[in-house]
């Protein structure tokens, strides 16, 4: 019954694991895209098709493309993969692994206490999301937009060229 959910969850888990362990940055990004897609599928199965679509459009389709764009510009090759190999020695894995195990244990404990619940409680339509965002959460939306505007102005300032009035000469 819940097979699609578990398949998506396993794919998400495996691909996220591959993101962390890949030495080639582009391969890691490919896995990250797969991970985001499977999370979107989980959202869809949980009754949030709108969030699932936005996850794919914004995270997998736009933000990740920017990551790929930057990595393509950096032109990293085999040298960087070697460097990465040196950085990722087994000792470094120890700390994060212990902390992750603690989290995983907690997750298993919480999940084992709430067994037998149907996973699609109700389907949230795009309209409901919109009403919630511009109703009770309007302050959060406004704050986020201010933050994005500040980022935009900052990026414009950094990208501007001196003495040309901001105009880029071809």
């Amino acid at each position: 019954m819940n097979a699609p959910f578990y398949i998506a969850a396993v794919v998400a888990f495996l691909s996220t694991f591959m993101v962390v362990t890949r030495r080639n940055a582009v391969h890691a990004l490919l896995y990250l895209v797969v991970s985001l897609l499977s999370v979107a599928l989980v959202f869809f199965l949980l009754g949030a098709p709108f969030v699932a679509a936005l996850e794919v459009i914004i995270y997998a389709g736009a933000i990740m493309v920017l990551f790929v764009f930057v990595i393509m510009m950096l032109n990293i090759g085999r040298q960087t993969a070697e460097q990465e190999r040196e950085w990722l020695n087994p000792e470094i894995w120890l700390g994060p692994a212990v902390l992750t195990l603690v989290l995983a244990g907690e997750l298993i404990y919480v999940l084992s206490r709430m067994h037998g619940r149907a996973y699609a409680l109700s389907v949230v339509s795009p309209k409901q999301v919109g009403i919630a965002l511009l109703g009770p959460y309007v302050l959060g939306v406004e704050l986020a937009s201010m933050l994005l505007l500040a980022g935009l102005v900052g990026a414009f300032h950094l990208g501007r060229r001196e003495g040309t009035g901001g105009e880029r000469r071809p």
Partner: protein, 319 residues
């Protein structure tokens, strides 16, 4: 129950066969139409009206040497051409060809299309990166920036239609166009969507990622044989998809008098495809910075203005 499944299977197979056949046939259609507008003959030797040219081209591309560059990143190099075909074909699943003739009816089908078209970027970007050659990389970079930017305007230009129809569901959007096609009240949205659609499919005049006069063949410089063919099929599938979606969103989809719905849909889609070819025949390619400036300084303000005005009018009408 079983009848329903069989009907679905027929639709799935039918959509696959028809779209792939159209994508192949478009090679001939495009060359003939271009020739017509440029006052020459075009391919007219192989078979009646040169129709078998498609078959000859297929045999040629299938039997060509499929060269894998030794310096390429093999796995990514092979995956890249498959991504574009997969995403475009997946997007066809939500197009309502006629009442009841569609693969799935999602209540977010429009967003599904946007999601699939945004994933198509990876194909071009990864192809450019995995080829490990400077022309390919430049083409891939251009493609990533261009498609990412025009995706924004594409999404925004559609919001006017969504507001008027009150749904992301493509079937509902078609149904609400019984009185008037959305290309009249949403004329700004229509023009922005059309321009963004051309840019998303990387067609002339927006084919900067493969601009052959500057970048050899851009992102697919290193590709040969059927892998190159996949990019080609992906491009023609993309044209068909954007045409079909334009018809669904702005020209009343399957709606029309006398003729059956499927016929209306096909006629309208073919007119849109012909328009795409005409664009290629008549417009020069802009410079890259012109393309980006045009998008962000002209299309973005217009699509935002369209949303504000549409919202205002709808609110006023509701009160």
């Amino acid at each position: 129950m079983t009848n329903g499944i069989i009907w679905k299977l027929i639709i799935v197979v039918g959509v696959l066969v028809v779209t792939l056949t159209i994508a192949g046939g478009l090679i001939w259609v495009e060359r003939r139409l271009l020739a017509l507008w440029q006052d020459r003959y075009g391919p007219n030797r192989v078979g009646p009206f040169g129709l078998l040219q498609v078959l000859a081209d297929m045999v040629k591309v299938m039997t060509k040497e499929d060269w894998l560059p030794p310096f390429a990143d093999k796995a990514v190099f092979i995956i890249a051409p498959a991504i574009i075909v997969l995403t475009v074909l997946a997007a066809f699943a939500v197009i309502p060809f006629a009442p009841g003739v569609e693969v799935v009816e999602l209540n977010i089908s429009l967003l599904f299309f946007l999601a699939m078209s945004s994933l198509g970027v990876y194909s071009v970007a990864f192809a450019g990166w995995a080829s490990d050659s400077k022309y390919s990389l430049l083409g891939g970079l251009r493609a990533a920036a261009q498609m990412l930017s025009y995706e924004v305007f594409m999404g925004l230009s559609l919001m006017g239609v969504v507001m008027m129809a009150g749904s992301f569901n493509l079937v509902k959007i078609v149904e609400t166009q019984r009185e008037m096609w959305y290309c009249i009240p949403q004329c700004i949205g229509f023009v922005v969507f059309l321009i963004a659609g051309v840019a998303e499919t990387r067609r002339l005049p927006f084919d900067l990622p493969e601009a052959e006069s500057e970048l050899v063949a851009g992102f697919h410089s290193e590709y040969s044989g059927m892998k190159f063919g996949m990019f080609f099929v992906g491009e023609y599938l993309g044209i068909t998809l954007v045409s079909a979606l334009t018809v669904t969103l702005f020209f009343g989809g399957w709606l029309g008098p006398v003729l059956p719905p499927l016929v209306w849909f096909t006629i309208k889609t073919f007119i849109m495809i012909a328009f795409f070819v005409l664009l290629r025949a008549s417009l020069p390619r802009p410079r890259y910075d012109q393309l980006m400036a045009y998008g962000w300084k002209v299309l973005l303000p217009f699509s935002l203005l369209n949303i504000v005005v549409t919202g205002g009018i709808l609110l006023a009408a509701a009160n």
